[in-house]
């Protein structure tokens, strides 16, 4: 497998995971992050995926994946079962994002979360001047068929973490080309298209 084959935001997440640890990828999709973690970082990596077709494809590739829902099935795992619980581009599609985060930080020593920034300037422009619900590369859906029911901005997410008493160990903001950008928070919330956070309990 080509080490450069995974998406840039997944690569960033993979880089945050220490080798030879235990990780659970919630909403693991086609399993590309899982496969990378298993093959290149010797991580004991497991996956949970909503779509049965996605699960079967992962298992056929030798990955340990079960069908499950972030909102309901994290509760089955014991405390501290994993070093990392990963949720990439899925938080905004959960019914109870706050409870999902709580569960992630119960089951995992650390949580890694990535999500699209709803305060990105393109979103703001389309909403304020276009008067239409935003459609951008990271939010490609029509308002009536989007799975994203709990969108937030980078600042919203920071506020939730503060409210929950969760420690932000790292925060990486990505621009439109999925390149990390280093900006003060106000600018990051305007120019970042998505963000990756690593969290731990206080």
């Amino acid at each position: 497998m080509n080490a450069a084959a995974i998406r840039v935001d997944l690569q960033l997440i993979a880089d945050m995971v220490d080798p030879s640890t235990r990780a659970l990828d919630v909403g693991c999709g086609d399993g590309s992050l899982l496969a990378y973690l298993v093959n290149f970082k010797r991580v004991d990596a497991r996956g949970m995926e909503l779509s049965q077709a996605g699960v079967n494809a992962c298992v056929a590739n030798g990955l340990s994946v079960i069908q499950g829902d972030a909102d309901t099935d994290l509760g089955n795992y014991p405390d501290d079962a994993f070093d990392y619980v990963i949720l990439s581009q899925t938080l905004q599609a959960t019914r109870e994002p706050r409870q999902v985060l709580q569960q992630m930080l119960r089951v995992g020593k650390r949580a890694i979360v990535s999500f699209p920034n709803f305060a990105h300037w393109q979103v703001r422009l389309r909403m304020v001047f276009g008067g239409r619900m935003p459609e951008t590369p990271s939010l490609p859906y029509k308002w009536y068929d989007t799975p994203n029911i709990h969108l937030c901005s980078i600042d919203d997410f920071r506020a939730l973490c503060a409210d929950m008493g969760v420690v932000i160990e790292r925060a990486i903001v990505l621009d439109r080309n999925s390149k990390p950008i280093n900006l003060p928070p106000l600018a990051a919330n305007l120019l970042g298209e998505q963000a990756v956070f690593m969290l731990r309990r206080d």
Binding site: N56, V59, A60, N61, Q67, N76
Partner: protein
Amino acid sequence: MEGTIGSLPLDDLADAERKALGQCQHAILGGDHALHLDCGVDLGPYRLAYRTYGTLNAEKSNAVLICHALTGDQFVAERHPVTGKDGWWESMVGPGKVIDPAHYYVICINVLGGCMGTTGPLASDPASGKPWNLRFPVVTIADMVRAQAALLDHLGIADLFCVIGGSMGGMQVLEWAASFPRRVFAAVPIACAARHSAQNIAFHEVGRQAIMADPEWKGGDYRLHKTVPARGLAVARMAAHITYLSEQALQRKFGRSLQDRNALGFGFDADFQVESYLRYQGSTFVERFDANSYLYITRAMDYFDLADAHGGVLANAFRGSPTRFCLVSFTSDWLFPTHESRDVVHALNAVAANVSFVEIESDKGHDAFLLEEPEMFRTLGGFLKGAATVRGLRGVP
């Protein structure tokens, strides 16, 4: 072949058993250390009939144990010596198949209580020299698994790369993982549950009552009376067979088509194809299966409740398990519906065990695990390959 096999008399064997033993290996165990059964009885000596395919590698790390279902036996992947039909799992086991004897040392053992050469109610009590019949002790899934483990000890196989099976075979897989976690690297329980449901016990009871209501059954001593409770056993098989299929499969296969006639017969012959099919299933079954064995093995399934055996908490059965699990269920299986597999997955999650779970879309009902299901082959092939890589098993493509 007359005389004895080991210390167990062979001359009173049924014809089917004799033919079976002629085409497979067997071992006499429990002569020194009797098998302590859950019912409290110590059983020994006892015979286990088994088949192997492929070669055990030098590291003894490529053994795959296949656990058969209620009416299966050790003849997994070859012409059956009694029925002349193909092996019951040739879709899964064989050259180029998911479980290829070119890579794995495949073992399948006729379960304790069975009737294809392994000790069961057909055999004779070594103490009295008389056939056990209903005096044979009631055995459990755990007893079957302990007997299998004793055979592996006898064969010098410390641990298994994989234990796999469907239905009652899947129950044995779960029992293996719970009882001998260090001996099971990968476990594949297919279309099964951690406990037999009330509905399934009910169906088994119908089958047992059909057998026992047959006047030829003679309180279980039919061989002494030289009778066969064929009608009772056939009815048991017919009722059970319906539970192995699905409404869609029956409709697709038979609909309301008539059998060898153009109009309804206004009588009770097999007017419909589905009736004729079930009668055929019943009549062929009695040629290869022993009625008392059917009573004992259905009872073993009914008694299976893995949570109950672990303080009422299923997760306790798997605490600290190093085994890699892959569970498989089928969308149209109403005998062991998907939610029963999901309960096992949740228990495994609760102890953070390594588990995969696939539900296969199929309209073939419970029997789907025995049939051509490309999605099952693809996912299990991937799972075994992944497990082989982690195990460092060489030669698995």
